[in-house]
Structure formats: C-alpha cells, structure tokens
C-alpha cells in the first residue's frame, strides 16, 4: 500500500493528484489556487493542497511521478529544431532556454520542492499518463484507449489496449503530425488564443457549414488505418511553436481573422466564412478521430473506448464517436487535457508499487472543500448579506424558476475545466435572454458561446436521451427534445448535457429534485463561476470576490444565501 503524488506542469495546465492505497484522494489544478489561468508552473500549491487534504506529510510519499519524460522531450525539441535548420533559428535559443533552464531538471526540482529523496521521484510517458488517467478510473475492465493531443514528448497520438491493471501500447503517431496541433493552428487562424480558444472553435462550428472540407483535406491526409499526415507546408510550428500556421494556409483559406475583433455572425460575411472554416475543421477532426477509433476497435476487439488528451475535450467529436465508432460504451475523464496527466501518473506509480486499480470515477469533486463556516465570516466582513435558508434546495429551485441567476458552491471543487455543481452558476434553462445576459455581462464572452444544461440523471430521457458514461462529466453533446430549453440549446439543436446523480453532485442533485417535486423540469443552466480570463473559483475569497464583481443574484453555500446589498 502506497501514497503516490502525480504531477503535471511546465507547459500548461499544471496539476497534482494524490493516490493513497489505490484510492484517488485528491486531484487539483494549480490555476484554481494561484488564480492564474492555465498556470503552467510546477504545481507547488496544488501538491501542498493534495497532501494537506489527505493529512500527509511529503515525507510519507512513496513516490512522486511526473507525467512526462523531460529527457525524451529535450531530445525531440533538439532533433526537431536541428531537423528544421535554418527555419528554427529563432526558436532554438528560446526552446533551449526553456528546456535546459528548467524543464530538464524538473524531477530534481520536485524532489527539492517537496523535500523527498530524489530516487523517489520518477517519470512516465506523457501519453501513457493520459491513457492511465482515462482507463484506470473508467468503469471498464477492458477497453481500447486513444490519447490524442498536441504533442507529448514526441508522440501526438497513441492507441492503447487496457486490461485490468495493464496498458499496452499498440500504435503511435509522432510529432509533427498531430490533430491537436492542427486544431491549435486553426484556432489561432480564427483569431482565438491557443490552449484557450479551442472550445470557442467548437461552439462556432455549429454556426457554419463545412464547405471548406476539401481545402482542409489538403492540409491533413487521412489514411485507411487511422493514421494521418499533415502537409507541413501549411504550418509554422516547426519553425516557431508560436506561429501555428504558415502563409500557405492563408493562401488556401483566405486571410486569418483579426484576433479579439468582436464577432458579428449575422452581419459579417467574413465572420460567416470563419464559422464555415470552423465547421469544416470540426468535420475533418471528427473524421480523423472516427478512423482512429475504428482502428482501435478492430485492433483491440474491446467494446469500450476511453479517450484522453486535449482533443478528448471536444464534446461534439466524442458524441460522434459514441454514435458511430462501433463501441458499446465510451468514457472521458473530466480533466482529459494535460492536467489529467497528473492523475494518470499517480495511478501508474501506485500500480507499479502493487496497489489496486482505483475504483471508477463517479464524481469530479476532488478539490478542496468549501463550507458556509469558511465563507460566512469573510462575507460579513465584506458587508455582504447572509440569509439562512431553511430548505436550501427548495428555495434555490424556486428562485431559479423565478428567473434568478445564482451561484451554487458545494463541497470540494471540481477536477477539470467544467463546473459540475460544485462551483457553478445556475439559471433557468428556458429563457434565451438569460443566456445572452450571462454571456454579455457575467462571462463577457462571445455571443455564440452556448451554455450547458444539468439534468437529473433519472429524468434526463425526455429531453436528452438516457445517460451514459460521458454525460456525468459534460464530455458529450446530445440533441435536445422539446422547445422549452432555449437557453441551453445550441444553434444546432444540441446541448453539452450533464446528468446529475446524488453521488456526483449532491447539492445540485437536491436542487434538481426540488424542481421536479414542484412540477417543473429538473433542468438548470449550469455554467462555471469565473470571470473572463479567470479560472473557476475555488475558495471562499474567490467566491465572494466573484459575487462582488459580477451581477448575479447571490451565492448559496450549504444553507447560507449570500447576496450583495445592505445587511
């Protein structure tokens, strides 16, 4: 029996995860604690918080496992920059400063930071971490596992066969051929920030028609066996990772969109063209993933599929895989991106030390807890009004039904980029004006961004179909039935639904149950509690700061309703 800390970081989305005696005890993204969005630094705060939550001292750790091999990564960076002589002349100094200045010493830094013996700090492969993070917490004894992201050390895509406590790699595709980098390049072309704007591209795609599919098939060639190759002439990242795409892509698709220019899909022909390009990219990405998944099915014979890596956060593609790839079941863990690598690394470390495989993940609430007792003294100090609710779920349900926009903070915060009822903003799912107001005033984001519904799992069928392994963590989309959920129905008639059980999110479950008990649809609009460019709130000060800075009607923590205004 062992205590193993998994760590990801130094690129983006740093995180730590703690597995003790085969149980996932805590998993925390660094950004939640430092308030620095996509914080890439070594996750000092997250590591400390995981250990504190478990009541462990760092000295009690049997192993610390980093989520990728820094030396293999250095080799790839070196060989890639040299292989691209002389185009990479500007990248080389930066890349070497990055690698030699800190990244290559990361295992020593971890040992120093935590005060553990260096021989207890090890590393595993980037894609192996991803695969482990998905398969070992899935409900499947056997599954095909696909890991798809920008690039790990040198692998961009990998196919695995998971059985009980083992993962066998069946195939790999190497950098620079990468679906993640294709998506990232087009994200930059469309004027969004890479590693941040990919969700926006996915949301935008629903507004377009894929009329640029033929052009994009020149950019990526799909093979029958699931492999693919990018035509590197269209990309700039070999010379400089910050460039993403090259002039040839603009010659193919037209000029890039100016970043940060406000969107006008109704009035601007240019913006509609960009939406069409987003739709084409989505289609091509889905086709590539589908081919990969079909190969995975053939090669493994498994009837379940696990996905991980940044590309696995594409909920629209996941839905298509679930429908068309031939698998009976599909699972994506909530932090499928690089943060999730920390969880996979911890599990791999624990398994190597002989611990049992963790139980299937039934909740994303793996962060630090928040109670009314934590928040109320500060709320009073800030002059906020605190009202004790006799029946919080019923009162919250009634207020939401009256059109209020309320925060719900309950228990431990979520693992991954989605608010799943632990640090959520809730609103009525019916009124599209609520959606527009939330987008404009609270979230201050593009008008085309959709909001997601949360629905009682037992009652989801009439609106969204039956729950499956993807719906609890909001990693898929479903067609919406009925006209009464306008605020959470995207322009293509789908929604990125979350089905809620009492185990996964008890407080949100109680609110939905109260709505049902009152004869209303057990559905709410559920969006993350964060301002533009900020991580989702975590602790009391973040929550109350959000309430003070944004025009929502209040926040419920346990039985306390906290509102602005006079005491």
């Amino acid at each position: 029996m062992a205590a193993v800390l998994g760590v990801s970081g130094t690129y983006h989305d740093a995180a730590a995860a703690l597995v003790v005696d085969g149980v996932v005890v805590a998993a925390i993204q660094e950004e939640r604690l430092t308030r620095h969005k996509n914080d890439p630094s070594l996750p000092r705060h997250a590591m400390t918080a995981c250990l504190a939550h478990a009541g462990l001292a760092a000295g009690a750790l049997d192993r610390v496992v980093f989520y990728e091999d820094p030396l293999v990564k250095l080799e790839r960076v070196l060989t890639s920059t040299l292989g691209n002589f002389p185009r990479a002349v500007r990248q080389f100094p930066r890349a070497m400063a990055n690698q030699l200045g800190s990244k290559v010493w990361v295992l020593d830094q971890l040992a120093d930071l935590l005060g553990v013996a260096r021989d207890r700090v090890t590393c595993v492969g980037h894609h192996e971490s991803h695969a482990a993070s998905a398969f070992f917490v899935s409900p499947y004894p056997e599954a095909a596992v696909l890991t798809v992201d920008g690039v790990g050390e040198s692998v961009s895509t990998a196919l695995w066969h998971g059985r009980d406590r083992t993962l066998a790699c069946l195939g790999e595709l190497h950098y620079p051929h990468s679906l993640g980098l294709l998506y990232a390049a087009l994200t930059a072309y469309l004027g969004f920030e890479v590693n941040e704007g990919e969700y926006k591209v996915m949301g935008l795609a629903a507004y377009g028609t894929p009329r640029f599919e033929d052009e994009l098939r020149k950019v990526i060639r799909l093979d029958d066996d699931g492999g693919f190759a990018l035509d590197l002439a269209y990309f700039g990242y070999l010379a400089d990772p910050e460039l993403g795409f090259g002039p040839d892509l603009e010659r193919l698709l037209g000029p890039r969109r100016t970043a940060y220019r406000p969107w006008d899909l109704a009035g601007s022909a240019d913006d509609r063209r960009y939406a069409d390009i987003a739709a084409s990219l989505q289609r091509v990405t889905e086709d590539a993933l589908l081919a990969l998944a079909r190969t995975a099915r053939t090669r493994t014979g498994a009837d379940a599929l696990c996905l991980a890596g940044g590309v696995a956060l594409n909920a629209v593609a996941n839905a298509r895989l679930a429908r068309e790839a031939g698998f009976a079941r599909v699972f994506v863990q909530p932090a499928a991106g690089d943060a999730g690598g920390a969880l996979g690394a911890a599990i791999l470390g624990a398994l190597a030390l002989g611990d049992p495989r963790p139980a299937p993940l039934t909740t994303a609430a793996l962060g630090l807890p928040l109670t009314a007792a934590d928040a109320l003294p500060l709320a009073r100090q800030l002059g906020l009004t605190v009202t004790t609710l006799a029946d919080p779920a019923a009162e919250l349900a009634a207020r939401l039904d009256d059109g209020a926009v309320l925060g719900l903070c309950a228990g431990r915060f979520e693992w991954g980029p989605r608010a799943l009822g632990q640090r959520s903003i809730l609103a009525s799912p019916r009124d599209p004006e609520v959606r527009d107001k939330l987008n404009r005033v609270v979230k201050q984001r593009e008008p085309f961004r959709p909001f997601a519904p949360a629905v009682l799992a037992d009652a989801a069928a009439p609106w969204f179909g039956a729950p499956d392994d993807l719906t609890p963590f909001m990693t898929t989309v479903r067609p919406v039935s009925g006209p009464d959920l306008a605020a959470v129905t995207h322009v293509d008639g789908t929604a990125r639904v979350q089905t809620v059980t009492a185990t996964a999110a008890p407080a949100l479950h109680a609110v939905l149950t109260a709505l049902a008990a009152g004869g209303r649809a057990p559905v709410v609009l559920n969006t993350s509690m964060n301002g533009p460019g900020e991580p989702i709130v975590a602790r009391a000060a973040d929550v109350l700061g959000f309430l003070l800075a944004h025009p929502i009607d209040g926040v419920v923590i346990d039985d306390a309703l906290i509102t602005r205004g006079s005491r």
Partner: protein, 233 residues
C-alpha cells in the same frame, strides 16, 4: 531620491510618450498587465493572511485591480480602433508570489510603494490628458486615481498598525532596497537572455551539419504513419 527622479522623468517624457504613434495603447496595455499581476498577488495575500479584516481588504483591492485592468484594456482597444490598429487581447500576467517571499509586512510595504508610485505617475498623466483636451483618457486616470490614493492610504495604515511607525519606516526602506535589487536582477536577466540568445544562435549554426546527417531525428520526422505493434493473435 529615486522616486523624485522618476517623477521628473515621467513629467518630462509624458508628452512624447503619449504622442508616439501606436504607443499609447501599448502603454495602457502594460498598465493593464501590471494591474493583473497585482490582482494575482493580492488574491494570494487574501488567501494567506491570518487576519479576516486584512483578507477582506486585500480582496477588495484585488477587485479594484481587476476593474482597473479592464478600464485600461477598454481604453487601449478604443485607441487601437481609432488608430486603425488590431485589437489587443486580455491582459496576461504572472504572479511574483510577493506575499510568500516578503512576508505580510514586506508585502504591504511593497504594495504601498507601488501604489504611491502609480498615483504619482497617473497624476502626471491625468494632467497631461487634461491639457490635451482628451477628457475620456483623463477621466479614466482620474477614476483610477481615487482608488490608488485609497490603496496608498490603507496599506500605510496597515503597516503602521502591524509594525508601529518606526517598523513601518523600516519596512518601507527594506521594500525600496528589495525593489531596487529586483530591478538590478531584472536588468541582469535581460542582458543574460540577450547574451544567451546570441550564444545559442551560434551553437545552432555550429550544430547545423547534424541536420544533414542520417540521424534518428530525420527518420522520426518522416514518420507520417502509425507505428503499429503486430495485431493481436
């Protein structure tokens, strides 16, 4: 002494600085980044301080910094639009972990000096825009100045409350030294980076022949297909 010198420089250069084409929005964006960095440090302080009253104070201050960053960004976007420049993105900054590094007293002293410096600088800029008849930018600086004065005042009051008048003076002196040392180190880092970039470029050129060798890397670059393990029997 340094502050006085800085004031003279700011007053002397501001007419040039703000009239330089395209420079005004960039300067406002730099202010937005500074406010964003300050927000991160203040949020860290709000989480770390043992005092409930100071936690509330730091939190309010952090919210002011967020608002200021938004104001600077908004005005920078307006100026960019009027100059026909591409819009800017949201401010991004790193935390310096000042609270953890300096302790609460040192943190307060550092923030106090920063607010004082900002207040003096913004007063010069507000007067400059008043003279130029740019009421919109002047109003923005005036609005932010109200908060800067308040921040300057409360941080000093807290310093005195925590350390007494003498202790506060000592903390401010230490913070000035630390600030100067930080500036020195930053300058050193910038020079080192430049030197390093030149050396690495030279190294890149020296290593260039390797690019033509039949290295593993060239094989790897050519791997366009799956590297598949044998099928299951």
């Amino acid at each position: 002494m340094i502050d006085a010198l800085r004031g003279v420089v700011v007053r002397a250069t501001s007419p040039l600085v703000w009239r330089w084409p395209g420079h005004a929005p960039r300067k406002l964006e730099a202010f937005a980044r500074a406010e964003e960095g300050s927000r991160l440090d203040l949020m860290a302080a709000a989480h770390a301080t043992p005092s409930l009253a100071r936690r509330a104070r730091y939190l309010r201050h952090a919210l002011d910094e967020t608002r200021h960053a938004a104001m600077f960004t908004r005005r920078a976007r307006e100026l960019r639009a009027s100059a026909g420049l591409a819009p800017c993105g949201p401010p991004r900054a790193d935390t310096e972990e000042l609270f953890a590094r300096l302790g609460e007293l040192g943190f307060l002293a550092f923030v106090h000096l920063g607010e004082q410096r900002g207040r003096k600088q913004f007063e010069v800029y507000a007067a400059h825009f008043a003279r130029r008849g740019d009421a919109r930018t002047q109003a923005m600086f005036d609005g932010i100045l109200v908060d800067e004065r308040e921040h300057e005042g409360y941080t000093h009051a807290l310093l005195v409350e925590l350390a007494g008048a003498d202790g506060a003076r000592q903390a401010l002196r230490r913070a000035r030294w630390w600030s100067a040392w930080r500036g020195w180190r930053r300058a050193g880092r910038a020079i080192t980076h430049a030197l390093y970039a030149v050396l690495m470029m030279a190294l890149y050129l020296i290593m260039a022949p390797l690019a033509w060798l039949p290295l593993k890397l060239r094989g790897r670059a050519a791997r366009k297909r799956w590297l598949l393990a044998p099928p299951r029997s």
